[in-house]
């Protein structure tokens, strides 16, 4: 069975969700309703099936290369979003999550399915390292999105003439709190991902550090988040500065991901 068998209907459901959220946003009504959540859950179930299918087909954890990486990241972002939504009822996050999930699944669908894995992909490090990293990315994506929503809402409030976003986006305080929590979770996962990545590198290549751009951007992101967390918890700093740092950190994270998925493997071979 083709790896795209489940991915196409997944894309259809996420597209329907994204379109629905967009329409609701434009008509300024409640962003999510049971219809949208139902479609999303159906899409998510198919998405899970598609990843399972890929896992058994490829013979290794499906998170290598653009096809599998984009699909897995979209899955992780969706899962983190659904958990956040159930726990906090936060709807505005849908404004960022649906376009991201749609774009990533589309990219996954268009990217070629890799043939078979190199020996480096066997073993326990790949699933552990990539799962930690991708859920870290997903949490940091939420932090990034909440930072953006913070700045948008701040702009709305500063402009003193409320438009659509004023009504859709939650309070500054809420954006800040959820962003802070997501950074804390995402930073923990990112740290573990870096540690397991280094150990894996050592196990596979006999060296801890490969001096490639991906590693440097991951470390840069790590330091940005260290600074952000330190400022938050030691000096009680928050608000717009925290939002900016959260966005900057995610840019570094996104670079790491893009390098790993496409550029990196094109220039330096698998992983």
């Amino acid at each position: 069975m083709s790896a795209r068998f489940y991915l196409l209907p997944t894309l259809a459901f996420y597209t329907a969700g994204a379109v629905r959220v967009l329409i609701q946003a434009l008509s300024r009504r409640k962003l999510l309703n049971s219809w949208t959540v139902g479609a999303t859950l159906a899409g998510f179930a198919l998405h899970t099936a598609s990843l399972a299918q890929r896992w058994s087909e490829a013979g290794h954890f499906p998170a290598v290369g653009l096809h599998d990486g984009a699909s897995f990241l979209a899955w992780a972002i969706m899962l983190v979003f659904l958990v956040t939504y159930v726990r906090t009822g936060l709807e505005a996050l849908a404004l960022a999550v649906y376009p991201a999930a749609f774009a990533l699944v589309l990219v996954a669908g268009l990217a070629p399915v890799p043939e078979s894995g190199a020996p480096i992909l066997k073993g326990v490090f790949l699933p552990v390292h990539t799962t930690l990293a991708f859920f870290g990315y997903a949490a940091l994506f939420v932090a990034f999105a909440m930072g953006m929503l913070y700045l948008i809402q701040e702009h709305e409030l500063k402009s003193r003439s409320p438009r659509a976003f004023y009504y859709m986006v939650p309070s500054l305080e809420r954006c800040d709190t959820i962003s802070a929590r997501s950074v804390a979770v995402g930073f923990g996962l990112l740290t573990l991902a870096i540690v397991t990545g280094v150990l894996w590198n050592h196990a596979a290549r006999g060296r801890y550090w490969s001096w490639d751009a991906k590693e440097w951007s991951a470390i840069l992101a790590w330091f940005i988040y260290v600074g952000l967390l330190f400022a938050r918890y030691r000096t009680g700093w928050g608000g717009r500065r925290a939002a900016f740092l959260g966005i900057a950190g995610f840019v570094a994270v996104a670079f790491t991901f893009v390098w790993m998925m496409g550029l990196g493997s094109a220039l330096t071979g698998v992983r």
Binding site: S161, P162, P170, L172, R174, A242
Partner: protein, 417 residues
Amino acid sequence: MIVIVGASHRSSPLALREAIAFPRERLEEALALACQQPNVAEAMILSTCNRVEVYARTREEGAEPALVSFLCSFHGRDRDELAPFLYCLTGPHAVKHAFRVAASLDSMVIGEPQILGQVKEAYQVAEEAGTLGPTLGALRNRSLAAAKKARTETGIGRNAVSVSYVAVELARKIFGDLNDRSFVLVGTGKMSELAARHLVRSGARATVVGVRTLDRAENLAAVLGGRAVPLSALGEELTVADIVVSGTGAPGLVIRHEDVEQARRRARHGKPLFLIDIAVPRDIEPSVARLPGVFLYDMDALRVVAEANLRERRKEAIAAEAVLEREVRDFLDWEMSLDAVPLLVELRKRADEIRRGELERAKGRLGLTQEQEEALDAATSAIVNKILHPPTVYLKEIAKNGLASEHLGLVRKLLGL
């Protein structure tokens, strides 16, 4: 048929509504009089500052002139003087109007919450006066339920439209929960006190700054459950406050750019500061709005938000109209199905008469035991009920579809009634 005669803020000037308003203590008398009008079977009077309306159920069509003359004569006014400002609504139009009024869609400010209570009270008074019958009673139940539904299912009541509430809503958009947020009230004017009361009710803690004397600040602080400080402590308070409400009568600036800048440098770590300037002339230097993390709203800005919120409500009103549309249709269906009720009663009565007659005759011939008689009685009842069940359902159905008057005659002939 339901009829509504009245005047509202849409149809008439305030002076006219004042002239025909019903004072609470004369409502019983007015209701009784309204019910004495020819053809009027039930009555209810809704009299608020924005509308005066007489709701009635009439036995036949064409009772509106009687209601208009009742309205005029009760207030001792000339019919020609009032008539141009009055509207007369009948049947489905009246029902729809009653639903829209209760749901505040016909109010001056869409979504205002008071009208629901006023309508409720008006029906209550009519009920106590004994002028509320089954039809207006049903109108009450259905329209109030529909109004609540429209309120919960749409956002017609969601965003604040009065300036002092807008200030609190903006504070929530910045700080989320206002519990244990601290706000500084500068000056003890009426408007700033109103905003302060809303903030305290939302859980914020007050510090009142006395501008000229501390006396009034202390009194107000006691009312708000906060503390009072002199003007010299304002700089200190700015470093800890989340919200500042300023409404002094001072001719010059009370809070300057450098005061705010300094306070933020000293203690704020980029956390938001919300400044509300409700004084005219303004108390807070407008340039502070450029400082990062500082949100400054003056009266004009608050009004802009209130207007934007009202536009949101108007958009939501479209959805609310759709909710009401369905509810009105249900009510009208129910009302029409009432047409078939007398016929159904007659049909049952006739069938039972026949049954009893035949039963008596049979009993006389057969000489049955008590037990056997009861069994026969039950069996014949069941036969009648089973035969009458389909026509009963069908009659209710055609009545609902508004075909009653044409078909009912035929049904009468067929069944020999």
